[in-house]
Symmetry: C2
Subunit: 217 residues, 2 copies
């Protein structure tokens, strides 16, 4: 494990993006930054740890229906992925230390005795969350995105038909004060926008769908 | 926050289910137990904290396409859910302190201006992982499952057509030593089975799908 010189906001720092919720610091301090340190590099063992966390995520019947195509800044995988990014994401995602393309298994290979899981996307989402926690526990930030050319990604990365390109995951260190000072105003503004969520009454129910949970929640 | 008398295996304890992976303790110490303390109850503020964690999970365009129908042991929601469980799950899930039915938004209501997210299952999976981390940070255990009558669940819980019943989540305290001593052998055997996962070469790639990542991983 390498020590990190956390020049950007540490996960527990006060930040407008942080909810005041009574939840574990590593959850409260998580947000999808658009300000990555464009110099920071991930060591081999750091990437291994981050992907180990995804590996040990739970899945339906232990199907593990996930795959990750991993690029580090300026390597061939990263370069190919950057070319597929939407206009909205090209302004920040390439600066991250790693870009990971995620995939879930969406059909079964001919003559395979594998049983297809109906929960492949759900399980991939969980694996992405596990990876995120590991990265954050190492002082890193994660920003997931869907804005890229999925069809082209399947071609460029030679994805077989029974797998589906799903999301992108940017991982890196938060920009330091000097880097933030020269960041585009459009990114700074989004960075400062407080995170918003639905109230409990909109998604936490008891007895039946739509019925807000009673004494708590 | 209430203090917990952790009589069962604490998340960091040596346990056959724990991988030796170099990942954060809260990830390494997670497994889907089938041995819940059938006496333990969750306090209101504990359930609130657990669901707050799901609430602050990320989602595509902040769509938050998740919902949770929450029962505590022996309340009407719990009773209804227990009646829907598969034979495999009825042997352990009812003992947990809470059973949560998860749902994701799978279509748009007529006349709604909501945009449907293609990532609703992925995002629900992430929210379930966030909830899991919060519960574990409080010394609790989580076991997700899909084995129950989904169609009947949609009827019993009056789920609208544009939402899809997805998984169940059992949350509680691990059984203590006395409770473990009287647990059925079939559950104990599964509890002791070491967790297994694919090797990195099977799901971590670079440059193209199927090509194992080079110097690391």
């Amino acid at each position: 494990m390498h020590s990190h010189d956390l020049q950007g906001p540490a996960p527990d720092d006060p930040h407008p993006a942080n909810p005041r919720a009574q939840i574990a610091g590593i959850l409260r301090g998580r947000w999808s930054t658009r300000l990555f340190d464009p110099i920071h590099e991930l060591f081999d063992d750091e990437l291994t740890q981050i992907l180990e966390a995804a590996r040990w995520s739970p899945s339906a019947g232990n199907s593990q229906p996930w795959a990750f195509i991993v690029g580090r800044r300026d390597d061939p995988t990263h370069q190919r992925f950057v070319e597929l990014l939407s206009r909205g994401n090209i302004s920040w995602a390439p600066e991250a230390s790693a870009l990971i393309l995620t995939l879930h298994q969406s059909a079964v290979e001919r003559d395979s005795d594998l049983v297809l899981s109906d929960y492949a996307m759900y399980d991939l989402g969980q694996a992405a969350a596990h990876l995120t926690f590991q990265a954050q526990s190492m002082g890193l930030f994660v920003h997931q995105f869907a804005g890229f050319d999925h069809e082209r990604a399947a071609e460029v990365f030679e994805v077989p038909n029974h797998w589906t390109v799903t999301t992108g995951i940017a991982i890196g260190r938060h920009a330091n004060a000097e880097q933030v000072a020269v960041a585009p105003e459009s990114l700074l503004e989004r960075e400062r926008t407080p995170r918003q969520r639905k109230e409990f009454a909109g998604f936490v129910f008891s007895e039946r769908f739509g019925s807000p949970a009673g004494g708590w929640g």
